[in-house]
Symmetry: C2
């Protein structure tokens, strides 16, 4: 098993970051504008990326003091069964977000791509909170061919 790790520091209170990770409005501002479903623990959130694909996440854990955990229940084959976790820590006037997408079977080329794409979406989360404007799909940052 191999993991994608990423981190960003966001100039905001952790409660604002937590809201952006745990509400449909927040998620639609930095990941994909087409976000629907049930964002409560045990619910499934539907992330849609037009003809580029979709991901369904079950919410495993929501801890306002700093942890959000999802499990991929549908989406790209390599993602199914993997887990996505966000750990938040207040550091003065910044919130550090430690991100992990864990449980990949193999370090395939798609995993390289997803690692970088997650980084750009975390930068989108940072921009959303710090400036009010994220780069959610379909206005996301393109990192390669056909993306």
């Amino acid at each position: 098993m191999v993991d994608i790790l990423n981190a960003v520091g966001i100039k905001a209170q952790s409660s604002r970051v937590y809201d952006a990770l745990t509400t449909l409005k927040g998620l639609s501002g930095w990941w994909t504008s087409d976000t629907t479903g049930d964002a409560n623990v045990g619910g499934v959130i539907h992330f849609r990326f037009g003809d580029r694909g979709f991901i369904d996440m079950r919410v495993r854990e929501l801890a306002p003091d700093g942890r959000v955990a999802w499990q991929v229940v549908d989406g790209p084959a390599a993602w199914i069964g993997t887990k996505v976790n966000f750990e938040l820590r207040q550091d003065g006037d910044f919130t550090t977000v430690l991100f992990k997408h864990e449980g990949w079977k193999d370090p395939v080329e798609f995993m390289h791509h997803c690692s970088t794409k997650w980084a750009t979406f975390l930068m989108s989360l940072k921009a959303l909170i710090e400036t009010g404007k994220g780069a959610a799909f379909p206005n996301d940052v393109h990192i390669g061919k056909g993306d």
Copy 2:
């Protein structure tokens, strides 16, 4: 041992990407403007980031058909002995760059940070080649507190 993986697709011939990874001029355009040393196989390249630190890389392999490999010989403690590899593959009018920073002893918080920071520098490499303007230090993208 754990690895950082990233990937970008750059709209250019692979020879242009190879040049940006293997010449002091190219490297100074996307990673740090303060790049000196010997970029030949066996040589050591000195990457300097002002008061934010430094990295010395020994060039292990240069294969114009698509592979650049370095070994960290000095820099942050967690980096020493790790290896950095770039694999290039021409896909039509794009070059896919598969990046690996391998051999981390533990998935420490600093590794999360470096993974995201590498992603932003690979986006800088892409911008340098596609637009003529990268985001090398000290004009690099800030991803957190004090960075």
